[in-house]
């Protein structure tokens, strides 16, 4: 209570200032009058009484001050006065203020933008109810994490039901569906019926999937659609509910739209349709029984009152049953062993599950470090600026101190000034971040999924505010602390040297030179060091990108257009292999008939796509070392594949139309395959094949089991050898590759490749020609092969671009800082230089004097910077492609650039120093 009344009293006084002032004045005068009256009564004359009363009373204003200070409101008033004073000071030097605010806006803006991405990818919780209750279950095998099979999920969900409500989801799949029209491509996710109820996601309209949608066979197949799909495809038509979506011959009824900005349990994944996983049309029986197919991610919501440890314990014991079941049903000892060695990982999952988080965490942290360092350099610059200003303002500060202002008050004054600048800069930076995040989004498109919302939120705002405060402390408080360490008499002496070793500015100047711009040199050295770190990082990223760009792809992406295709019906009955082949042939013919098309092919794994197939193989004459199963990547292709991709045929022949289901099975392998399984270096205990051994005619088997059982394997004869080509990742060394003829196997072909003759744009004509074909095969996309190559270079290209941009920015800031410092020091020493010249020093001597300073600073900066840069390089090594983090070229280049820029920035001030006229210099002040 007293605290409240005290507060209210202060508030009243604040708002009725003049009234309170008048009242106090009147009260004190009344006191004086009463005192005089009393003294007269006691027998003094009026004059004596008045004088005595005044002496007793003390200074009227002093008493007023003391009384006012008893309330809290005075400190608010002082603060307000300081704020107004700071605003006035900043307005008086608009150029200075503008430079500071602009620098901070850019620095904080860059940091806030990158932080927005960090926030969205690494920090933000899923938009669901109580996300902290979510846990992610993963089976950890000796070889790494594995998704779950359906029976495994069922066991975990049933046995763990007491502690958690477990839900399952497949990864998103591109599928072709028909919604009252031709097939269209959608991103589809198969989920358990309790997916939305367990996650706690509300419907925007209609209802979402519910556990009752789970039973098999379903009465009516249903689907929920995303808000984005609702907007994009249906224009947010509320009548969408009840419409049918046909997928592989089954109609799914749309029951609702997912609300609250929920996109997926995996942040960044974009999903158009969610369907109950039990309703999958044409799902093979092994999906439901047995563990051969692991395709489900499992998340769970802990029951109220169950903590992570309890959930872990209960789910662990449920997993033991899963593990035993896998082991019991295993075909081979190997599968059994690895199942028994596996364990369940239960982790907190408020932010959902994400592979993206793992892959992007290091690059993002590196990027954050880079922009953080840029901000540091910017702050160092501002601190130098503030310092020089503070030095210039020292007489003013000394005057304030002499007049009785406390040092604390002056520091507060300086801090408020810095905070005002930082607040403006921080606000600007937050606005810049809105624009910056779209730049980042476009730079990272291809790396960052489109569905990821990286726009600034409250946490980003808090970050910007914190960054602003931190910068204010760094560039504002430190210089102020220094500047107020003045003894009034020394500073007020002005130009006359005190000579008594006082701590006034001139007094200090006679002693050590460096303290003229105290720790200005340190700041510039730090800037140089940090710039070096950033330059080296940029150099390494650029070298890495250059290496990546020079990679021999093995194929020629120019003028090739890729079309992913997808069957719209499934099941062996609906689409026998012959019909599938016929559908593909039909499409290839349509594409070939388009004018300007040179060659057309199709393959089961797309060029540089992640959709790939690896299989156990057996090669005649190759005995694998103990415990190693030979495996090769496999791709089913049409005859023209090598003509379209221009993968060079080294020996033998390519497939032809003659290779049919009836003819002997043929295979083509790449050089890596030959080297690994037929000729060339082989593991020590394997038989060494003779170098002359020709791969042609050698028999190779595609096995169905591990180890290979010849009775079930498909055996082929190698008819050709092609050059190595990059398969799915540019960075990896070309792996062994086995090409098989699509006519002799049943694999679906998932991509059509078309090579055009000229640069003329045939893509859209092609798309129309291809899309017009039989509806059982849908075209789900279009992309040029070069675009796909570019897309796989997006991350390194972005790293190179951003690090170069930030490195140059830091370098520019450091150059400005250095140039400013040298110029300032030269001005300070004009007189001294004048004396030197008068005593016979030549211009060259003066130049050497000033440049000597610069060089010393650069050397100090480099000595500090090189170890830091090397440490940074070590951190980056995982992100580089074939670049030694201690790459001597990158290191020497960045040092050279730094030295050149430093010397160039010192050039002007040096010239000015050399042109000093001794007569004028000596007449100064």
């Amino acid at each position: 209570m007293p605290r409240l009344t005290r507060f209210l009293g202060g508030l009243t006084a604040l708002f009725r200032r003049t009234r309170a002032e008048q009242e106090l004045d009147e009260e004190l005068r009344a006191y004086l009058a009463a005192s005089v009256d009393a003294k007269i009564e006691a027998g003094m004359t009026r004059d004596d009484a008045e004088r005595a009363a005044r002496i007793e009373f003390g200074g009227l204003e002093a008493v007023k001050d003391e009384t006012r200070d008893a309330g809290w409101e005075t400190s608010v008033e002082q603060l307000w006065r300081d704020v107004r004073y700071a605003a006035r000071t900043l307005r008086k030097s608009p150029a200075f203020s503008a430079v500071v605010i602009l620098t901070l806006t850019l620095g904080i803006g860059a940091n806030t933008s990158i932080f927005s991405a960090v926030n969205a990818i690494l920090l933000r919780a899923l938009p669901v109810e109580r996300p902290d209750e979510l846990i992610a279950l993963t089976a950890l095998y000796p070889n790494g994490p594995e998704p779950f099979s359906y029976p495994a999920y069922r066991t975990l969900a049933t046995d763990g039901a007491r502690v958690a409500d477990a839900l399952a989801a497949s990864t998103t799949r591109r599928e072709a569906v028909a919604i009252d029209g031709p097939p269209e491509a959608v991103d589809l996710k198969w989920v358990s019926g309790n997916y939305f109820t367990a996650l706690g996601v509300p419907a925007a309209t209609g209802r979402l999937l519910i556990p009752a949608d789970d039973p098999q066979p379903p009465g009516v197949a249903v689907t929920a659609i995303s808000e984005a799909f609702w907007t994009r495809r249906f224009g947010r038509d509320p009548a969408v509910i009840g419409r049918g979506v046909r997928l592989r011959g089954t109609t799914f009824v749309i029951v609702g739209v997912v609300g609250r900005g929920f996109t997926s349990e995996t942040p960044g994944e974009s999903v158009d349709l969610w369907m109950p996983l039990t309703s999958q049309p044409g799902a093979p029986g092994f999906l439901w029984n047995g563990h051969s197919s692991t395709w489900l991610r499992v998340l769970a919501r802990r029951r109220p009152g169950v903590d992570l440890a309890q959930a872990r314990a209960a789910l662990d014991s449920a997993y033991v049953r899963v593990r035993d079941d896998i082991a019991a049903k295993a075909d081979t000892a190997k599968v059994r062993e690895s199942a028994l060695a596996s364990r369940l990982d239960v982790a907190e999952a408020s932010r959902g599950v994400s592979r993206m988080r793992d892959t992007l965490a290091t690059p993002l942290i590196v990027l954050m470090a880079i922009v953080g360092l840029v901000l540091l350099v910017a702050c160092a610059n501002l601190a130098t600026l503030m310092l020089t200003r503070a030095v210039a303002r020292r007489p003013e500060i000394a005057m304030c101190l002499a007049l009785g202002a406390g040092r604390a008050r002056l520091i507060r004054q300086g801090t408020i000034e810095a905070l005002m600048l930082a607040a403006l800069g921080g606000a600007g930076g937050f606005l810049v971040a809105f624009w910056g995040t779209s730049v980042i989004a476009s730079l990272m498109s291809g790396v960052l999924p489109m569905a990821l919302d990286i726009h600034p939120d409250a946490r980003v705002l808090a970050f910007a505010a914190t960054a602003a405060c931190a910068t204010a402390v760094f560039f504002g408080l430190l210089p102020t602390l220094f500047a107020t360490r003045v003894e009034p008499h020394g500073a007020l002496d002005g130009g006359k040297r005190s000579g008594r070793g006082g701590r006034g500015i001139r007094g200090a100047s006679s002693g050590s030179r460096s303290s003229r711009v105290p720790f200005g040199r340190t700041l510039v050295a730090i800037q140089i060091a940090v710039s070096l770190v950033l330059l080296l990082s940029a150099g390494l990223f650029v070298r890495s990108l250059m290496n990546l760009k020079e990679i021999d792809l093995g194929f020629d992406p120019a003028r090739v257009v890729l079309f992913p295709v997808r069957p719209t019906v499934s099941g062996a009955q609906a689409m026998p292999p012959d019909m599938r082949r016929q559908l593909i042939r039909d499409r290839l013919e349509r594409a070939a008939s388009v004018p300007g098309v040179e060659a057309v092919s199709a393959s089961s794994s797309g060029l540089l796509s992640s959709d790939r197939w690896r299989n156990v193989v057996a090669v005649d004459g190759f005995t694998p070392p103990e415990g190693v199963t030979p495996r090769s990547w496999v791709n089913a292709i049409t005859p023209a594949y090598f003509d379209v991709t221009r993968i060079a045929l080294l020996r033998g022949r390519a497939f032809s139309d003659g290779d049919g289901p009836q003819t002997p099975k043929a295979a083509i392998v790449n050089e890596a395959f030959v080297r690994q399984f037929i000729g060339g270096p082989s593991p020590s205990n394997a038989p060494v094949p003779s170098p002359e051994a020709s791969p042609l005619g050698r028999r190779v088997s595609l096995c169905r089991s591990d180890p290979c059982d010849p009775s079930t394997a498909t055996t082929m004869e190698i008819v050709g050898v092609v050059e190595n080509a990059k398969y799915s990742d540019l960075r990896e060394i070309a792996p062994p590759m086995l090409y098989i003829a699509f006519t002799q196997h049943t694999q679906n072909l998932n991509e059509i490749q078309v090579r055009a003759t000229g640069d003329a744009d045939v893509a859209s004509t092609l798309y129309r020609a291809l899309a017009a074909g039989d509806g059982r095969l849908a075209i789900t996309g279009m992309m040029s092969a070069s675009e796909r190559v570019e897309a796989s270079l997006v991350a390194p290209a972005m790293a190179a671009k951003l690090s170069s941009a930030f490195g140059l920015l830091a370098l520019a800031l450091a150059a400005v800082g250095l140039s400013g410092l040298v110029a300032y020091m030269t001005t300070q020493r004009t007189k001294e230089i004048g004396v030197r010249i008068a005593l016979g020093a030549t211009r060259r001597d003066v130049r050497r004097l000033v440049l000597g300073h610069t060089i010393r600073l650069v050397v100090i900066g480099a000595v500090l910077g090189i170890p830091a840069a090397l440490a940074m390089a070590r951190l980056l090594s995982g992100l580089l492609y074939q670049v030694d983090p201690y790459d001597p070229l990158a290191i020497s280049l960045s040092v050279a650039v730094l030295v050149c820029v430093a010397l160039a920035s010192a050039y002007l001030p040096t010239q000015r120093a050399a042109r000093i006229d001794p007569v004028k210099a000596l007449r100064m002040d």
Binding site: M1, P2, T5, R6, G9, G10, E23, L24, E26, E27, L28, A30, Y31, A33, A34, S35, D37, A38, E56, F57, G58, A62, V63, E66, T67, D69, A70, G71
Partner: protein, 116 residues
């Protein structure tokens, strides 16, 4: 509150108590309080305006006293302070505290060499 000894030997903080005490009998204006303190203490305390008015402001903010403008016996306007019920309770609390403290101090100071 820190026992800050002011010139005149008055422990800071006790001034508030003393002011409250002078007001128990009747409302007084600032000068009146000073005179009353001096009279009662037999001239021992001379409270300066620079201490008196900040103390009055604090007491008023805390709601222990309330000021009112009135006309004095000499026909001048002055702000008279009177004790609020809360102030009365506060005075009682502080008096009790003071008594126990001063008693303890008195005992220590009256200790004979043997007891030390």
């Amino acid at each position: 509150m820190a026992p800050d000894v002011k010139p005149g030997g008055l422990v800071q903080g006790t001034l508030h108590m003393l002011i409250l005490k002078t007001l128990t009998l009747e409302p007084l204006h600032g000068f009146g309080i000073g005179v009353r303190l001096e009279q009662i203490s037999g001239g021992g305390f001379q409270v300066k305006a620079g201490s008196l008015f900040p103390a009055l402001l604090r007491l008023e903010r805390d709601g222990f006293v309330r000021g009112e403008w009135r006309v004095t016996e000499n026909n001048r306007r002055a702000k008279y302070y009177h004790l609020t019920p809360r102030g009365r309770a506060q005075l009682k609390r502080e008096t009790r505290q003071w008594e126990s403290q001063s008693l303890a101090i008195a005992r220590i100071m009256a200790a004979t060499p043997g007891e030390l």
